[in-house]
């Protein structure tokens, strides 16, 4: 890779890190009900929303159970509305291309996918959805699902920041409304205008017909793209207006939009860590966690970049220039936009899976075997910053495991952020940790032995297996990116991925909220010489080690059968 390529990556990551600090502090202001500069604008809107929901319910203190049940109920109602919109879109307005209602099983899959922040798409947006569906059934849950994940994380942090004795972890509706109106709505509006200025369509005109020199008329579908693109990345959603997602010139037309979209994926998941430090009044602890997540990102990102730049022996044998030069990018350019090249495609692929967004500006199916390892790692570990709130919670799960293991090793009381870690907490983090590999590996195994699972695979041998593994990893991590090559629009994959998406999303949130309910009532234990400190870089190294060891023990065998086996085959010029 050229120096310019490395500089692009370093500058992008540095900007993301720098932005995350003030944004994180602003998030802390929002969730702790302090005055913000947007209050004058949005307070009247908040009051209307609170009035519609009911003032009493919006002001009561909630236990973890009440908070979680209200979260589930609102998600259910929204999912049902999305489902009905998709199924009956032919009876709804803004459908001038007369798309029929979505097939019920696909609509079920799509509703679950979007309400859970996954945005797995077993359909092509521009050939399936009306503009009304794109706005009301796709863009709307991009706001609400991001907010759901965020408020779960905030409630969890509150439990650790309270001195104990109570059961209150905040009010779900108040958190939900304030995060939407103080963060997502204004940011999405301002950045949406920027994307329009860069050339992204924002129109209710549905299509134009072009007459290229081949003579065949070509229908180019347009719509409210820019408004979807901002929240798609800001909310780590990832579902595209078009099937090609952020590789499509309408969704990602310029280098500036590519930079902005990459930064948008980074900013809020990274900011939550800063917000965490502000809420528990311990910035040092937050930087330790930030460092652990950052180290993981820096471990896996070069694997993809260097592997893509190395290309394949088969390409080298036929005379393809592998090294990047002034005039050409070299390496493996299959499935990549020439305008983005290897650096921006590799960075986007790593960020979209590490921050569990799921949008793509290159086809991950065309990556080299080891180039696909970091997207796999991002989704399997789920804590390299991770998606909105949920990635942060996953990182804390590993942190609690690290505290417990380290405590056992050195004979000290396991405490995390001053709260004792006892049997219920360990049971809950273990359940959270186990459910993720279960819902990835079990359906992958099942798909690889059943005819209806194998029938969808387009490529042979290890690569075909990787396609299936990727589909379930993406679903379980609520990522939504696809490895392509796999036909997911079948009954088996629509039902199986929907189930995996649900199990990958809600049970971990429920277990973590229960853990919040357990620790909120515990008093803060004073720090003594017997306390295992979690705000040291030594502990950060241990935390990182626990993540890597647990992740490797869980997923390495599955990766050996796919990308790693394919890598060795590739060395013998066997391609799939």
């Amino acid at each position: 890779m050229t120096l310019q390529s490395w500089l692009q990556i370093v500058v992008t990551l540095l900007i993301g890190a720098l932005i995350s600090v003030p944004v994180g502090r602003y998030l802390a202001w929002v969730v702790t009900d302090r005055k913000t500069f947007l209050d004058r604008l949005f307070d009247p809107l908040d009051r209307v929303i609170y009035l519609a929901i009911g003032h009493r319910i919006c002001s009561e203190k909630m236990t973890w159970k009440t908070y979680t049940l209200h979260m589930l109920m609102t998600n259910l109602v929204m999912a049902a509305i999305i489902y009905l919109i998709l199924v009956f879109q032919d009876y709804l307005p803004l459908n001038p291309l007369h798309f029929p209602g979505m097939e019920p099983l696909l609509a079920f899959n799509t509703a679950i996918s979007f309400i859970t922040n996954t945005d797995w798409q077993a359909y092509g947006g521009e050939t399936t959805l009306s503009n009304f569906s794109q706005m009301a059934a796709i863009t709307f849950p991009m706001f609400s699902s991001a907010t759901t994940g965020f408020v779960a994380a905030i409630a969890f942090i509150r439990a650790f920041s309270r001195s104990g004795g109570g059961t209150d972890i905040g009010n779900f509706y108040r958190d939900f409304v304030r995060f939407t109106t103080r963060v997502l709505m204004p940011a999405a509006f301002v950045l949406g205008v920027l994307l329009i200025q860069q050339g992204e369509p924002q129109t209710l005109q549905t299509a134009v017909v072009a007459h290229p020199i081949q003579g065949t008329a070509q229908t180019i579908v347009m719509g409210p793209v820019a408004s979807m693109e901002t929240i798609k990345h800001l909310g780590t959603n990832g579902g595209g207006f078009c099937n090609a997602n952020a590789a499509h010139p309408f969704e990602n037309p310029t280098p500036i939009t590519n930079l902005v979209q990459t930064l948008l994926m980074i900013v809020l998941p990274a900011s939550i860590v800063v917000c965490f430090g502000e809420m528990i009044s311990d910035r040092r602890q937050a930087w330790i966690l930030y460092g652990v997540m950052g180290a993981l990102l820096l471990i896996f990102l070069p694997v993809t970049l260097l592997s893509e730049q190395s290309g394949t022996p088969a390409l080298a044998k036929v005379g393809v220039e592998i090294a990047a030069t002034q005039g050409q990018p070299g390496g493996n350019m299959e499935g990549k936009e020439v305008r983005f090249g290897i650096a921006e495609s590799g960075l986007f692929a790593t960020v979209t899976t590490a921050f569990t967004t799921g949008s793509v500006n290159a086809m991950h199916d065309s990556f080299t075997p080891l180039g696909a390892v970091s997207p796999f790692a991002g989704m399997m570990l789920q804590c390299i910053y991770g998606g909105k709130g949920v990635g942060f919670l996953a990182a804390l799960v590993y942190g609690i495991i690290a505290v417990f293991v380290a405590g056992l090793m050195v004979g000290r009381t396991p405490e995390f952020l001053g709260k004792k870690i006892e049997r219920p907490e360990i049971v809950l983090v273990s359940l959270t940790l186990l459910i993720h590999p279960l819902v990835i590996l079990a359906p992958t195994g099942w798909s690889m032995v059943m005819s209806y699972g194998l029938a969808s695979i387009a490529n042979g041998w290890a690569h075909g297996y990787s396609e299936v593994l990727y589909a379930f990893a993406s679903s379980a991590a609520n990522n939504g990116s696809a490895f392509a090559g796999l036909n997911a629009a079948t009954r088996w994959y629509e039902l199986a991925t929907a189930f995996v998406i649900l199990m990958g999303r809600y049970p971990p949130i429920i277990f973590m909220m229960a853990l919040a309910g357990s620790v909120v009532a515990k008093p803060v234990t004073p720090m003594t010489s017997g306390t295992l400190r979690t705000d040291t870089w030594l502990f950060a190294g241990f935390w990182l080690g626990v993540i890597l060891v647990v992740g490797a023990l869980t997923f390495l065998p599955a990766l050996l059968l796919g990308p790693v086996a394919e890598f060795f085959a590739m060395q013998r010029q066997l391609l799939f």
């Binding site: 589930l72 259910l76 999912a79 009905l84 079920f108």
Partner: protein, 46 residues
């Protein structure tokens, strides 16, 4: 028919998740509520 069936499946899924909330609540009950004969405030190792 399939439209209604999928809607029921959606409702059922969330109902099951509601059940998981109750299951989790039992997990964090103090030891005495789980039938453990130790007092809830017993010291570690008691």
């Amino acid at each position: 028919m399939l439209i209604v069936l999928m809607l029921i499946l959606l409702l059922g899924s969330f109902l099951a998740l509601g059940g998981l909330v109750h299951f989790s609540e039992n997990l964090i009950q103090p030891p005495s509520a789980l039938g453990d004969d130790r007092p809830a405030d017993a010291p570690d190792g008691a």
